[in-house]
């Protein structure tokens, strides 16, 4: 058996810098890419539309790669504990939400890539690196995959709203340190005079 790691002077109530950085970077990239995707889909054909599609696809590939790094980091680094007072059902819901979010962070770019292939538009990363087309051109399949891509995106948006709502609920209603795990500057310092 490995000896217990030395107890750090500060209990691990907050994610590490890498985890926090990756979380906010991916969050920002997803929100931007989602917004661009929503906006570009109904545009009439124009050079700008073609540019936005390419940028959106490059962003998708980039997000996929960052999520891969994130997942690797997450599996190798134990996240901070949840508050002891949290009921078991809430822990389960939180766990399920995080698992689903990770699944969607992979599934969304993959379905985007597949729908592109099926529609006959290869993904060329930054206009330089062609990604293989996993599907041959098939307009009906392309339309179906577009619906799947859209559905998964709206599912993810709903989960992100729930994720955000839960974080705010923890911070403002439960008044615990769950949100502060990702935003260390919010951490409450348990000083005697604290009236919160």
């Amino acid at each position: 058996m490995n000896p217990m790691p030395p107890i750090s002077p500060v209990p691990s109530t907050c994610y590490g810098g890498v985890a926090i950085g990756l979380h906010w970077l991916v969050a920002l990239a997803i929100v931007s890419s989602f917004s661009v995707g929503l906006y570009m889909a109904d545009l009439p054909l124009s050079p700008m539309k073609l540019k936005l599609y390419s940028w959106h696809k490059w962003a998708g590939v980039t997000i996929f790669l960052f999520v891969l790094v994130r997942l690797g980091w997450r599996l190798l680094h134990r996240p901070p504990e949840l508050p002891a007072a949290m009921p078991a059902w809430q822990r389960r819901v939180a766990e399920a939400t995080h698992v689903l979010l990770y699944l969607l962070m992979f599934a969304v770019p993959i379905t985007g890539w597949l729908m592109s292939s099926a529609k006959g538009f290869q993904t060329v990363y930054f206009g330089v690196l062609p990604l293989p087309d996993l599907l041959v051109k098939d307009a009906d399949l392309g339309d179906l995959l577009q619906q799947v891509h859209k559905l998964l995106n709206f599912s993810m948006a709903a989960l992100v709203v729930a994720h955000l709502g839960a974080a705010l609920k923890h911070h403002f209603i439960d008044r615990d340190d769950v949100l502060a795990r990702m935003l260390p500057f919010l951490a409450k310092t348990p000083t005697p005079g604290d009236t919160r």
Binding site: K51, S54, G120, F121, Q122
Partner: protein, 188 residues
Amino acid sequence: MKFSVKCLLLGALLTALPVAHAIEFNQVQTGKSALSFVSKQMNVPVEGQFKSFRCKLAFDPAKPAAATAELEIDLASIDAGSKDANDEVAGKAWFNTRAFPVAKFVVTSVKPLGGNRFEVAGKMTIKGKTQDLAAPVTLRQEGNSAIFEGSLVIKRADYAIGEGMWADFGTVANEVQVKYRLVATAAK
């Protein structure tokens, strides 16, 4: 004896005649032929094709310089890769198919390049603009058919294909690779 020699000569001449009279490929089998192209959008290659075209051809492999050919392409039959693109390229900025429904390539000279390769030069007219165009062609004979194949790069700006906001080559490249395959037989 003299008579049989004459007979032999005549016989030899008769059998030799069909060989001397070379074959002329002049019936283009459009069903087996294809006219496709690859455009580049944001450096992404996108395949397309013209589904309807006609070709008048008279090509004798023994006398290529005497060949004549005329190709007419129905521009509205384009498949540019997606429905959106098809609707777009029929418009005024692209092919303006209502005003210019047909593109035409009239061959003016055929130059043998050695082996089974030829340079087919002619006048290409698209959207009212005529340019000289030289097409490399490889000839292959399969049974009674001649297969003319090749590809070349045309610059869309030479024919004002993609004007206005599309004139910038940053999104849709100027160079378009055109691939052709014509299958022709010889009329009896």
